[in-house]
Symmetry: none
Subunit: 530 residues, 2 copies
């Protein structure tokens, strides 16, 4: 049997340090559930001592039962010249009531002197007493030796003593961190050998990409016997980011023969990578190894014709293994199997002949900026359309949205819409059109209210719809105010959850299209149930 | 004296294979001159046999005298069962009249059989006769052994024989290529050792990033004695890209003690990286090691206060060495030290007492959803406000934005605004208010145009403003259409670049606030200069 490498995901903690990334508590819980489903052994959820959002997250997580993962909170050692029992931040850590506590301490003498401004001996005392204190109150302690490799270069003896302090106090894991990300693989090997010789605990590795070597450095430690790998999805993280689990996992599993996630879960890595991009509101980096849109895109003519003969000729690994796909720009190559798969996931029956026209339409819409990853409902409506099954519940004859600021600086939005419903539904209703107006705190709320006002009389079931999520992504950002906008809306009726998408150069129109489809989807589902 | 590594730039050839990148002939000439100024030993300009643009480029380049670099054209070996003398593509190569010709041939038996569809012996004949033919007509031949590492894994003896065929025919350099980019460093070492043992020519290394290991693989070959490194600026290239010279150069020079470019030229690497992003019409990747905007951005409060004491604490290398700079965003994890650092970065003088009130205000605004990380200009205006230095260039008396869809499904946006300017500026202008209206493809464009219409008569300097980036982030997304929206706008006048932010429950208002501050900031800077 192949050797197991334990995966420790810190997307929600170290990854949230990425410039421009702000996960909401909802985002964090959603991602925790996803990581649990994937089978990551450890999920580092946050640093409760550093911000109130993470305190709320851990509070909420007490109600969530994870199937595969152990949740960890994170903190630093106690303050200098103080006891852990009195430490407010450590108290917050314990309040999180996670089965695992991750603790970081200083390994680099320069940091002890210039950042902590204390003595080398006092730092050892802080590490030892904090680990000891936590170990009696928490099942499992992961000790992160911050700056271990820089520390080892500066003062090898002292760096090793910091590990020994944590190990002797009862830490279950000793993790060697290249915090500044500038270490070379050969330096990783030298320092790791010394750590393995000194410490009789399982060892982990935590690297950063400042030197463009985060994966090589991770592999260097694993080859010497490190059993835990820390990283983030998409390599999120401070500065150039952490080691990217989307690169680490396929390399360890498919190239070096280790056991990491189950193969069928690795085949969801590309989907997970996209989800994290959406949650962090970052464009999905197209040149990411393994999971990027361009990772299997063949542009050169010679490459394209060779790949048609045998993909191995220009692909180092099958894209299917990580759930990615081959792309050949300006070509009508399949993707039919993806559509058939997706349709069957949604419980739809689509015939082969229709799948082809759906692929073509999806490709066309994607080139305009559509993206159906988070918009299953829009995909289903589109498929209905192309298979002649889409029903017209109502027809829109125009809308109008006004937003204005008056002299007092108050802002209002008002929407007017004009729709009609089919004869059979309208019944004895006197007017051919419903023409309604409503206000809102913003243009989208005003449109939503006007739509409900117009439709609820005919379709009472839409009263239950609540919009739970609203995301705006500007594509082609350099185009300034002329850029294309994609709006994703998530809705629920208390039972079902669904997502719809709208794309336009006009942000109002994009929102409007996603809103309309949200309501249409609910009507479709209600009718199917009745 | 330190050992010299020769740099071979292929941004204009392999880099131009990047999805979405289309260099014009003018772009190519401009970049060639820049690379020459920097001191790259070799510049691979293109593949004259593959497209007419590259033929034109080489024609133009005959008039350009390079100071430091040797220009190379690129081609494959002659066709099977044919003589190089009769080869049309090789004739184009020689037409380019470059001092160096780079030739690629097949090292992998699978490629010979399935892609070339010929015999292993015939492939050796093609390599040998083409190198021999070119060597008598061109000063220097660089032979690229395509798929050498995959070939060595499949059939080591044959892969080595292909190198010998090129070497014995007179190639000046033998370059080992990991064309599919999936090789591991240890595999690079094993195959490179065999190549060094077999071939008595200087050896080069050419890697790709499909396995996230392009730099590690390059280093593995250099450590064994490779004297030439091939790569591209920003890691442009097919699929996940080539090895990134912006990472290779500082690693070799500053971490491993080799000689590459002159240190004062390495200090221009960040500028060169930006130039290539601009020419390739790609956003500059912010997490790029060494040259990215985020490579030296410190977000966590602990990191920031430590870096103020000593940058080494959280930086693996000084940003100045590669012409990058330290950045400290003002974010939710910030304290007074971030504000003081930021102010000094912006060239503002802020006293300690004011810093405190600015921190308080920033935190208050951040709790409403503001975020100054990408909005230096808004931060500066806010600081001016709190220190009594903010000037009122104009006053807004209200705005109104309409967006509507007519019966034909056409969408329009129209904005009307009312502003006034101070007496001193208005001068003899008859009306107290400027009241203007404009259309746009979306509400923001319409507002922007109406503002310009109203203000340009009084402040002609704002004519130069161009919005370069527009980002929308929905905060508290669970709130659906009631969610708070943050809009970030980047602007430029061709010289300065600045960012502004607006936050509101109303997306139109948020955009409006960011727009207004963009214009105000330009007016402030213009006045300071005058």
């Amino acid at each position: 049997m192949s050797e197991k490498i334990v995966l420790f995901d810190t997307t929600l903690r170290d990854g949230s340090q990425t410039g421009g990334v702000h996960f909401s508590v909802e985002d964090k819980i959603k991602l925790t559930r996803e990581l649990d489903e994937m089978g990551f052994e450890y999920i580092e959820g946050g640093w409760p001592g550093s911000n109130p959002k993470d305190i709320r997250y851990f509070e909420e997580m007490k109600k969530v039962k994870l199937k595969n993962s152990k949740l960890s909170s994170f903190s630093s050692t106690c303050l200098k010249n103080a006891r852990p029992e009195k430490d407010r931040i450590l108290a917050e850590l314990l309040h999180a009531e996670t089965p695992v506590c991750t603790l970081f301490g200083k390994s680099w003498d320069l940091h002890v002197k210039e950042s902590l401004e204390t003595s080398l001996e006092e730092n050892l005392r802080m590490i030892h007493s904090t680990v000891e204190f936590l170990k009696s109150r928490c099942d499992e302690i992961v000790y992160d030796a911050e700056h271990f490799f820089d520390g080892f270069k500066a003062n090898p003896e002292y760096a090793i003593r910091t590990l020994e302090a944590a190990a002797s106090a009862g830490a279950d894991w000793i993790v060697l961190a290249d915090t500044n990300g500038g270490t070379l693989p050969e330096e990783i090997r030298i320092a790791s050998r010394a750590a393995f010789a000194a410490v009789d605990k399982p060892i982990g590795i935590h690297t950063h990409d400042d030197g463009d070597l985060s994966l090589a450095n991770t592999l260097a430690a694993v080859e010497l016997g490190a059993k835990m790998v820390q990283g983030t999805i998409n390599g999120l993280g401070e500065r150039c980011g952490n080691a990217n689990l989307c690169s680490i996992i396929p390399t360890l599993s498919f190239k070096l023969g280790y056991e990491t996630l189950a193969p069928e879960k690795i085949a969801e890595l590309t989907r997970l990578s996209w989800l994290v991009s959406e949650l962090s509101n970052k464009p999905h980096q197209e040149n990411l190894p393994y999971v990027g849109d361009r990772a299997y895109t063949h542009k050169g003519g010679i490459h394209v014709s060779a790949v048609r003969k045998n993909p191995r000729l220009y692909e180092h690994l099958s894209p299917e293994l990580i759930g990615n796909k081959r792309r050949v720009p300006v070509s009508d190559q399949a993707g039919k199997s993806n559509v058939l798969q997706k349709a069957s996931d949604l419980g739809m029956k689509i015939e082969d002949v229709h799948a082809k026209s759906i692929v073509a339409k999806v490709k066309e819409l994607e080139s305009q900026g559509y993206h159906f990853e988070g918009a299953d409902a829009s995909f289903e409506l589109l498929s209905d359309d192309l298979t002649g099954r889409r029903k017209e519940f109502f027809k829109v004859h125009g809308f109008r949205v006004h937003t204005w600021e008056n002299d007092k600086g108050e802002i209002w939005s008002e929407a007017t819409i004009k729709i009609s419903v089919p004869e059979a539904i309208a019944g004895g209703h006197t007017s051919a059109f419903e023409h309604t107006v409503a206000e809102g705190s913003g243009p989208v709320e005003a449109m939503d209210r006007a739509l409900h006002k117009a439709l609820e009389n005919f379709y009472p079931s839409i009263r239950d719809i609540r919009l739970t999520d609203f995301k705006v992504r500007i594509l082609d950002e350099e185009a300034g105010t002329k850029a294309v906008t994609r709006v994703l809306i998530n809705s629920t009726d208390g039972h079902l959850h669904w997502g719809t998408v709208g794309v336009s150069q006009n942000i109002i129109e994009a929102s409007w299209r996603a809103l309309i489809e949200s309501i249409e989807f609910k009507l479709k589902k209600y009718e199917e149930k009745s």
